[in-house]
Symmetry: D2
Subunit: 121 residues, 4 copies
């Protein structure tokens, strides 16, 4: 299955339930952010180390898996209703990021691109 | 390109910059939610109708495209470090949702599954 | 009761449960954003008009009230552990915003301050 | 100044700019979540220890202060347009939480109330 296949399934799912009326880009952006918020709640009290092992507990692991699936579902729906090609967008964005974060400046630090190299000045 | 291809490219991108240290699941979940928040900001003052035409303005349209790309990037990274198969997770979740939201009950309303059919009781 | 009173109560509540260990600024920022996400979920499928009447339904109204309370609780905790005076910060920010959004330019439009007046140029 | 004073100032600020039209509860919930997302971005790559010292850097400290102010501003606006008494809501919620999280069960762990005491069973 490709992303387009999932987009078609999700579109059909919405159509059958007459949910297209709710699926404005604005509402889908909210739904996506709501799912991202649920994902946060699974990680908020964990140490970095605990977060790396979150899938070892079957119940929490399943929760994380399904939250990721929910985020993906709304992301695909939103791209579908806006007719945005997600993969092409990501490809472009990665090219931009490679220019914004040159290896020699970005290596080992997490500063934003507009603050890279500031310590050296 | 497949999602796995993008995951490999994103992993290499992080490796080259020694960013794996920052990419704990906890941090990636925060970054994903942060990007979802930026997406919200593009839609927050729009009417539903305006939100449906958001890509007509080239500058806003590009912003939306890149925010979707950012969300996808962090979603792919998070799934990668947790070794979660996103497509399999979505496939499962859609099967669950089909059971939770039967067409005859869910049609035309946006209630949560645990409140479906309440008006009829 | 003042905000400081609530901050003291929330601090005592955390102390008694030995929760200070979880209440790093990072974790509290996540918890705040998680609650904001739950708030979104209450509004995501509503029309603007429905959202204005959300408190008419007692059950939804209560949910909204408690989500606002949760956001306030984490906001107060976060300001407390960072020793930030929330009211002073808001006072300053409002002065800044008055300068960024002069009435004659901002009137009736929701553009960001750095795009104000662009149509006139 | 009290919260009500700030709510009046924020209402006047919106009135003068003819922004009431944008300030539906739905839109304000999005704006609040958007600001929470910006807050996340300030913390996402920090270790727990770094996050505790985030105000030591004057520039980051100011950013954090203003993000907290922004969250408070939208929280106050939202409560204002919905005519919700934030302090009363928080007072009630804290009473509920005291019952949901009894000290003897919640002490030293961050489990959700519906999972408290599970290890003992």
């Amino acid at each position: 299955m490709t992303l387009e296949d999932f987009q078609r399934r999700l579109r059909d799912f919405a159509d059958e339930r007459d949910w297209q009326q709710f699926h404005t880009p604005k509402n889908l952006a909210m739904a996506l952010a709501g799912e991202a918020g649920e994902l946060l709640e699974l990680f908020q009290w964990l140490t970095p180390e605990q977060s790396a092992q979150v899938t070892r507990d079957p119940s929490t692991g399943e929760n994380v898996r399904y939250e990721l699936a929910d985020v993906l579902a709304y992301l695909l729906r939103l791209a579908d209703v806006l007719e945005i090609d997600l993969m092409a967008a990501l490809d472009e964005k990665m090219t931009l990021n490679a220019a914004k974060y040159p290896v020699e400046l970005a290596k080992g630090n997490a500063r934003k691109y507009d603050q890279l190299g500031q310590e050296d000045q």
